[in-house]
Assembly symmetry: D2
Homo-oligomer: 472 residues x 4
């Protein structure tokens, strides 16, 4: 409503009340203006009313929502289903242009603004989460694996001789496949066991670099977020190797934004050595639906190169989700989630510890080593991915000394989730023990796994990341 509308309103109801409403409107507008001017995540989350007003205002700036519009191009943002238009808040044009996924579209000023603001907000949050010197980032409507692929494809143009990617082993299929899909040969560096932890074998990395020759190596592809007992890669040292040998460095930070430790490692790596890009999942870090990632880096122009490598326009849906989420939470809300995650980790660790003491720890083969997550990891599993064979798959090493359980303290987990999990695990372990007292000791491991996994399939049981799933 503009000035004339308010004036007309004053003639219909009391001017004092309309003026009051008009002032109220200004307070919403003020928040919107601050956002557009600063490009930062507001401290306090917006209420739905401001949020929807903002989305509505953006949407009517897109040409498909122009009144009296006639479209005779082939990309007019026509929508057949009102349900579909509504669920996208009438943003139909997607984001980006053929030249650049971050570029502005002439027919969609609103969608373009949405895209710019989202990237700006996400950059703000990455800084807040610990990577203070990040230079640029953008949301891409592809999950982490495909986003890593895009990074590798961009590097290809800069390193015509490169055939290999050096990759400290992490048993997760997508990141392995991201290299295969990009057309490179992964050079797997086995981890070393230090105490209970599996850590980067730096000597093996450097030896491989020298063996293959830096020019033939596309990049080192390291990982921060991972399931215990594998711990985050030694990012600082890898970054130094990359700097020394002139090799790019891409970091898989899939669910690392929620972990101050992972973010700190990236910040440090960039400070002392070389990190070209780090990639994080939207869903795992921002509690939105699966399907988006953030590609970030310390060199503005390299990040732009990646964004220019994406051929064509792209879905605005993941950007919209993360925008809504961050504006709803505010930076304070997001910080609170990060804080709660840490607390839940301590709580979960303690509860597991108590439970393992109540049972026979050796019996359970639960290894509480600075762990951050839980799932059933049996011994001796062999998995072939894109022609490569991994022994001891899921344990990140060929021969981990024992089978164990993993469970993750991910962002958004509540105390009641932990309590319910512990209760069900307890029930499950009781059943295992009873079974064992009946049977001989030989087929022990088998029995345990089967029981726990079968339970996981029932909706009233804990949903463990079981064998089949964990590999995905």
């Amino acid at each position: 409503m503009n000035r004339e509308s308010f004036a007309a309103g004053e003639r219909l109801v009391s001017p004092a009340y309309v003026r009051q409403g008009c002032e109220a409107r200004r307070s919403h507008e003020h928040l919107i203006r601050l956002l557009l001017e600063k490009g930062k995540c507001p401290e306090n989350g917006w209420d739905e009313s401001t949020l929807e007003l903002f989305l509505h205002e953006l949407a009517i700036m897109d040409s498909n929502n122009f009144l009296g519009n006639c479209g005779v191009g082939e990309r007019e943002g026509r929508v057949a289903s009102a349900l579909v238009a509504r669920r996208h808040y009438r943003f139909i044009h997607g984001i980006g242009r053929s030249g650049d996924i971050s570029a502005v579209q002439p027919k969609a000023a609103g969608s373009s603004l949405l895209n710019k603001i989202t990237n700006s907000l996400v950059l703000d949050i990455i800084k807040l989460a610990g990577v203070h010197t990040v230079a640029n980032c953008f949301v891409v409507p592809m999950a982490t694996g495909m986003s890593l692929t895009l990074c590798f494809l961009t590097l290809r143009h800069k390193r015509p001789k490169a055939k290999y990617i050096i990759w400290p082993r992490i048993d997760q299929k997508s990141c392995f496949k991201s290299m295969i899909t990009a057309g490179f040969e992964p050079v797997v560096i086995e981890n070393v066991l230090e105490g209970d932890e599996l850590r980067t074998d730096l000597k093996a990395v450097e030896a491989k670099v020298q063996e293959l020759g830096p020019d033939y190596i596309l990049c080192i592809h390291s990982t921060t977020s991972c399931f215990a007992p594998r711990v985050p890669d030694r990012l600082e040292e890898l970054a130094v190797i990359c700097a020394n040998y002139g090799i790019p460095h891409i970091v898989n930070n899939a669910y690392g934004v929620q972990s101050s430790k992972c973010m700190h490692l990236i910040q440090q790596g960039a400070r002392v050595g070389r990190i070209d890009a780090f990639v994080q999942s939207l869903d795992k870090n921002f509690m939105v639906p699966v399907g988006g990632a953030i590609i970030a880096g310390f060199n503005d122009s390299f990040i732009q190169e990646i964004s220019k490598m994406y051929p064509g326009r792209a879905s605005a849906s993941p950007s919209l989700d993360v925008l809504i989420t961050l504006l709803s939470l505010g930076s304070n809300g997001y910080k609170k989630l990060l804080k709660e995650r840490k607390e839940m980790f301590s709580y979960l660790s303690n509860q597991i510890k108590k439970l393992s003491e109540a049972y026979n720890e050796r019996l359970l083969h639960i290894k509480l080593v600075n762990l951050s997550s839980f799932r059933v990891v049996p011994l001796g599993s062999v998995q072939t991915v894109s022609g490569y064979t991994f022994r001891g798959f899921m344990s990140h090493t060929n021969n981990y000394p024992c089978a164990y359980l993993n469970a993750a303290s991910a962002i958004g987990m509540k105390m009641q989730d932990v309590d319910l999990f512990i209760k069900r695990l307890d029930k499950c372990l009781k059943a295992v023990r009873k079974e064992q007292s009946k049977e001989s000791d030989d087929n022990y491991d088998k029995t345990e796994d089967v029981d726990i996994e079968e339970m996981a399939l029932k909706p009233d049981n804990v949903l463990l990341d079981t064998y089949q799933d964990a590999s995905s």
Copy 2:
């Protein structure tokens, strides 16, 4: 978004595109401004985008949507469920005040505007539909019956001696009960049969007025919209009687807005005689959910008196529904619906005629007398309503010569509705005929009714307004 926001937007994406978006916004605002300034139904329906922007703008003018609001009164518009808030577009305060259902609320400028504009739009539509000299009207969140009651209760204060309401018989329970509920004694005037039609017995009306004495009569309560073979009351003549004897005249125009004939009668009645108020259903005339009515009249101050008689605030829900509907349709859309209804009436009449010729008309007892609607009306039904006994209930007279079928050509009916109805009626009649050839002729009427009514209960059959329902 205000000027500063747009300026900030221009720095983020191309100024040209933002300006284009800003201009686009202006075209939405222009429509809103026109609405507020003219208070008339726009000719062309608004698209959802403008409509929701408008509702959003109004809602943030209500104090429950103020940012940083703190409420320590007892009526702060707090909502426990987000689903509920959302479905009401965050209008929580209802409409009106204790003093007047049309009054402005200090805490809810937006809801107050909504109320004013809705009443203004509805007034515009009533004029457009044929009652050009209507002076005022308001939407009340009660169905037709209770709204009639409110009119009678308002008249009570002006006519302290009055005990009776003169009412030409129409067999519909709600309007009869509206008089009982208001505490008056209905004086039923039986209709006279003219040809096939049942019409107002004017002589009986005037005789009753003289017999009871004008001061003891609260009002004449006439009816426009009704099922054939009863036709609309002789409104002009009744209005003249009212004028002559100084008796108020309340017209039940339940589903008459959609009928140019009913509206014309009201216009004429007011021109030549006296009509104090006419009441119409929102759902039947505007295709919205059940629960609202419009009370309209030719004397501004009397309509205001009625609106002041409603004690307390009231639901804004019916007003919101009719506002959304009229803005979506535009006056052109509404006119189109009126036109289509007329066409469907002709089409339906023709199809029924063909069908009745195909079968034996006597057999069917279908009487095609200027009919406007279809349902099963048996002979000899007796119904007691609030202590009054009606013989021949549903046929509007004690002894209609035959049983017949009624079906309504109501606003929104489509050709495919008629076709499907005819197909099913055909099927039904075939079954009846087969049944009759097997059985004796005595229990003929019974058989027919049962068959058709039973079919009506099945979802794949025509939904006739069957006996039980039609009386409601």
Copy 3:
């Protein structure tokens, strides 16, 4: 999805996963079944997923949502606007029939179920809130005042001689007008001052009953919920008088469901004497939009009589709101709200006490007498309502000794609301004091009122129930 659909699903994805999903569905269905079988508010609130599934399932039972439906009646539940259909979850038929607002509609099994279940849930909550022996109740889509009118109109038929309603004074317009609208003469019984409290003058009530004669009295119309310093009426004693003289007793319990004290009084009144019906607002007690009320009583058949007095179908919207709200909250959620309200009352009282001590109490004229609410109440206000003149209007008595502030601790109020209110009140009092030091003492009261009320109009100030509003 039925068995065959699940079987087909199993062929498309893994049977184990589909079975798991199918079991999950069963857990939603189980909740729905419990609700329908027990008719009680579930202890734990439902999540949106179950709630919307339930509403969806009900809606498709209404004939307007039948596939392949053809409608040729005049009430087919057609909706012109998809937005309108959607916001009503496709419930279009309203509730009730001409005979009875609680009756079942043949064309709308789903809406009818919705109506029955809502009434059943609400009855459960009334019991839970303290009126354990309530026999029946129903939701009516009219606010408290009009609902009281309906009660009085129902009583009229049972008490043909009655002309008066005995009403211990409470300065709120709607409840006063409810008697006028129904056509009765309110007999105002002034309150008596006991300490700081205004209480029912029982002797005056009984004297009036004897003076007018019981047969000429329609009912005693008492009030529970009210602003301090008026306290709830002496319900037990009034109920005993009603029983002794055979006079009906209607209780205005507008926002009393949230107060254990009000509910206890009703329960006690019914135990020792006579209460025919008690009426409560939906919005004030259940945090839904304005527009509905609950009429409840201890005699099933009298409540049915009232429900039969409503002429015609009615809006389902208030019923839908309260159903959604109660299913979302669960009885535990509602109990928690009640508990929090009590805590907030204590907190608010303490904070006000501190503030009044910080300032000069006499200066402020704040009287902390078992208070439950705050608003600006000046001295000497005179108000005429429907021809009756009230001196000292808003203070419930002709001459309250001082002006004072009122603020309500209503359901849903948060600690931050109180804190913000206290902060703003503090600021406001500071300004008043500064003003006073400048001016003479004469126009003191005036100054204070104006200041506080003007502030109330600004969105960044506390929204007090100011003079104009409080009377509505």
Copy 4:
């Protein structure tokens, strides 16, 4: 609602009505069952009621919607914002697994079903649209360009020596970049002018194949849908060359599903020669938001290979959009849209013809050659894309004889769009002519372009695909 719930419902309202509602439910279920069993697009579109019921049923099969679920994995489908959950109908898990974008997820049976059914429906529509022998297809949440890249990346693993992609020139950046991004060198084959049309230079293609050697060629990358005067590639002949030389053939069919001609060419190409995959945009063919594509082919296992090449889970959003759209339209609705598009093409052609006759055709340089679309195409534009320079960019050839206008008759275009376009073009041409009569003839071309393009930026003007945009 299950059987017990219905039984409970029968006790609350009339059994007959509940049974009727229960039968009505069955008719919805029947549609769902048919869909799951047949996997085909229903002939008649579903109404929203069935559609939302179906989506709701699917969603509650996903583990994030299990009641009493506790999640301690890192991918539990937690959502921070209720708005986000709602707009995705609570499908949070995305589609696919690390191994395969078409694979089933253990934690998301509902999302998995959604994915399978969508792919099945889309396959059905591709057949219906003319490619009857298509073997398999899948929706991928990436736009056409990136989807082509994925095809090329998949082929890389089968053709280790390949470095080149043979590409008959089409001036659209995304498809050119799709080859660059995949790391291949595009070998551009200039088109030949035949009459007014630009057509595939088959001799040049075959010569290039022989020159480079089949093993060094990844594939031929042809195009069906394009702007006049370039016409679809000679697919049959290209397919034969591919078959003869053992070279894969990838077809860019971006907006070709809506064109029976394009679909016919693909069908024929596959019949007589070799087509490995054809890729089409979701938004351009199905009127959904930008961001998805369909990869389809004639060899089931090759399509599976591509789907397995996508590393990780992916957004379900484009699949959900196309599912909603196709179920809403039904195959009849989609066919109707295709039919209307053809009609609009004729209508648009005729109107343009009339207009060009009214003006001086030579003056306008409009060339009406079997045209299918309109935009401003100037002469002599030079564009560099990823290091490659294109002369005469946008005209698909180095030296097209004249500048011209293009406009597309895309699916969903309405007669009023055409009329408005013609009206505005007329206005625009009038202005150009006036300008020309004032100025000298030299700078003629310049003037025209500028005028038309500037107009295109104004919301009340036709939105032509102007120079900047058309290249995206």
